[in-house]
Symmetry: C2
Subunit: 82 residues, 2 copies
Amino acid sequence: MYQATITVTLRKSILDVQGKAVELGLHTLGMDAVRNVRIGKSITMTVEAADETEARRLTENACAKLLANTVMEDYTFTVTKV
Amino acid sequence: MYQATITVTLRKSILDVQGKAVELGLHTLGMDAVRNVRIGKSITMTVEAADETEARRLTENACAKLLANTVMEDYTFTVTKV
């Protein structure tokens, strides 16, 4: 069994309104030193697979088909045996 | 300047309905090998600070005060010089 950890982020060229709102919130709380806040998703899941190659293939498939909107988002993932 | 990467996750004891919905979606797409899907937030931000200790203190503060709901969520972060 493998543990996949996926990070889905908005592409750099796309305005992250949620991040902007959080940045404003942090500034309101006096934390002016914080800049360039961007918010993405962190997804963890277990994958039943014969080997790491298969686990990576399944994870890649899940990202491309459902977890990320590849028009607007990028994704990276790591797969480790558990 | 430091780059902080924060991961906010729902505590293990709390049902992750969003994760359950995604898991069901993946099963519907034929990816039955995927289990235990849990969805959290991945936040990146830059922090202006004199040293790493100060950057970590500011990031910790941001997490505790705004980024995570510590009743229901856990957070981890890394801070690297950029």
